[in-house]
Amino acid sequence: MRFKYVLSEVMVGLWRNVTMTVAMIITMAVSLTMLGASLVLYKQIEAMKGYYFERVEVSIFLKNDATDQQQQALAEQLRNDPMVKQPVTFETKTEAYNKFKVQFKDAPDLVKATKPDSLPASFRVKLKDPKQFDQIAATYRGRDGVDDVLDQQRLLAKVFGVLGAAQNMALAVAIIQGIAALLLVGNTIQVAAYSRRREVAVMKLVGASNWFIQSPFVLEAMFAGIIGAVVASLGLMAAKVWLIDGTLKPLTSLLTPVGWGRILWMAPILVGIGAVVSGVTGWITLRFYIKK
């Protein structure tokens, strides 16, 4: 009986104030979508960092006039270097040229203009700890026969920078929209409490417990939070279908793929966050609004 009563009060409350309910759900949905996107991006960046740090190489390019002896000496030193992950691969000029031809097959003019001899040979070195690049560079740069030491990580850092900025932006929108959503929740609960002030007064008078008086309002707020989170989850799934696997496919295939698992996992997380945060906001509002 009490459960039925509370439930019907929630439904009546939501319907009586339906424009506010819709506004609450929309802002909540936008905020949670952005929060979800931000979390997915965060996870994505973590995964990509792991993936690429496994694979990034430091290239030690040799001078064109480097002798076999110099090359042997470098190979020997690299083999015994504790910072270096074994085995070290050596890329000859021909191999470099062949790779170059494949990479730039869409620009035949460029390939034609490049002589097989003009690409430098290089050692491809993987580091045990990718952060130790500076030490590696210091050790090998300026050695006999070494032209330059290049770190792919430097390039990747820029990519991660862009992704990180996108993530921060999504988070900022999530927070701003989240504040708007919570203010709306607070306002809606106040309006609901006002429109039911007679019932509340009678309930307090005859000794209804606090949780019984407050639960319809809190549930109202939680309902909006949950629906908002469901909409947000659907939004993320739509983004997966049409953006990640659609428009942005060429870009995302270059990066590591975003799996369905990661998207689907967001749904329960967002529903939980939406329900708890809006419920708590509603409850706090009531504490101020309905005094003992």
């Binding site: 009563y5 209804a208 019984f212 003992k292």
Partner: protein
């Protein structure tokens, strides 16, 4: 049943206390009038007994329990032992007489079965048999106050508080409401009534406590308005 021990209540920003070191006690089954001019502090007593406000100093004891020391989550349970009616009835306009009384039961967790058994009984007791399904706007002022009394009494409280219950009623209707309160008092319920209706006080000849400027100036068994 009710004891006030040196109770002083000063509202914030008020220049003088509404109640000033008031002590009195009311026994179980008593019928007591608190009388006095407007602003004398008599309604403050009702608010204190309901735990709507806390005394600035002193102790309020109801049913051997110190109300001032009541934990906040105990207040709702405490209020179930007290019925209360007001000058403005405080009925829910979108509910019938039956539903108004049943509401008081439902929100403290009683089943609909209990309501179906108890509510018609109490409506019969207050003389509203046959008008259970009328809405408040379809009832006269006296009838509305009867619904309010039914709602206050349906839980069989130990104490019935009445804050100027006849303030909005004509003299004849007032007498009828008083007869009803008298009947409830005869079931053993302690009745505390705040009023400045001299007619009623003079007719009832019950204990009268007169308050002026926050102090008890008269306490008389079988008293008159003065």
């Amino acid at each position: 049943m009710i004891r006030l021990e040196h109770v002083t209540k000063t509202y914030p920003k008020a220049s003088r206390p509404s109640l000033d070191d008031v002590s009195t006690s009311i026994e179980k089954g008593d019928f007591v009038f608190f009388i006095g001019p407007s602003g004398s502090g008599k309604s403050t007593i009702i608010k204190l007994l309901l735990h709507e406000i806390q005394p600035t100093k002193g102790k309020v004891v109801v049913n051997e329990k110190d109300v001032t020391a009541l934990r906040s989550w105990r207040i709702s349970g405490f209020r179930r032992q007290i019925g209360c009616v007001f000058q403005d009835f405080r009925l829910l306009p979108n509910r019938t007489a039956y539903e108004n009384v049943a509401f008081a039961l439902e929100v403290i967790g009683k089943s609909q079965g209990v309501a179906r058994r108890v509510v018609p009984e109490v409506l019969e007791l207050v003389g509203l048999g046959g008008k259970e399904h009328r809405y408040p706007h379809e009832l006269s002022g006296g009838e509305q106050q009867r619904v309010a009394v039914a709602r206050a009494f349906v839980n069989r409280p130990l104490i019935l508080l009445a804050d100027e219950p006849t303030g909005n009623l004509d003299p004849d209707t007032s007498i009828e409401i008083m007869r009803l309160l008298d009947r409830i008092n005869r079931t053993g319920t302690t009745v505390v009534m705040v009023t400045h209706d001299s007619n009623i006080v003079n007719q009832m000849r019950r204990r009268v406590i007169e308050i002026e400027s926050g102090k008890i100036v008269r306490d008389q068994p079988r008293g008159v308005y003065g």
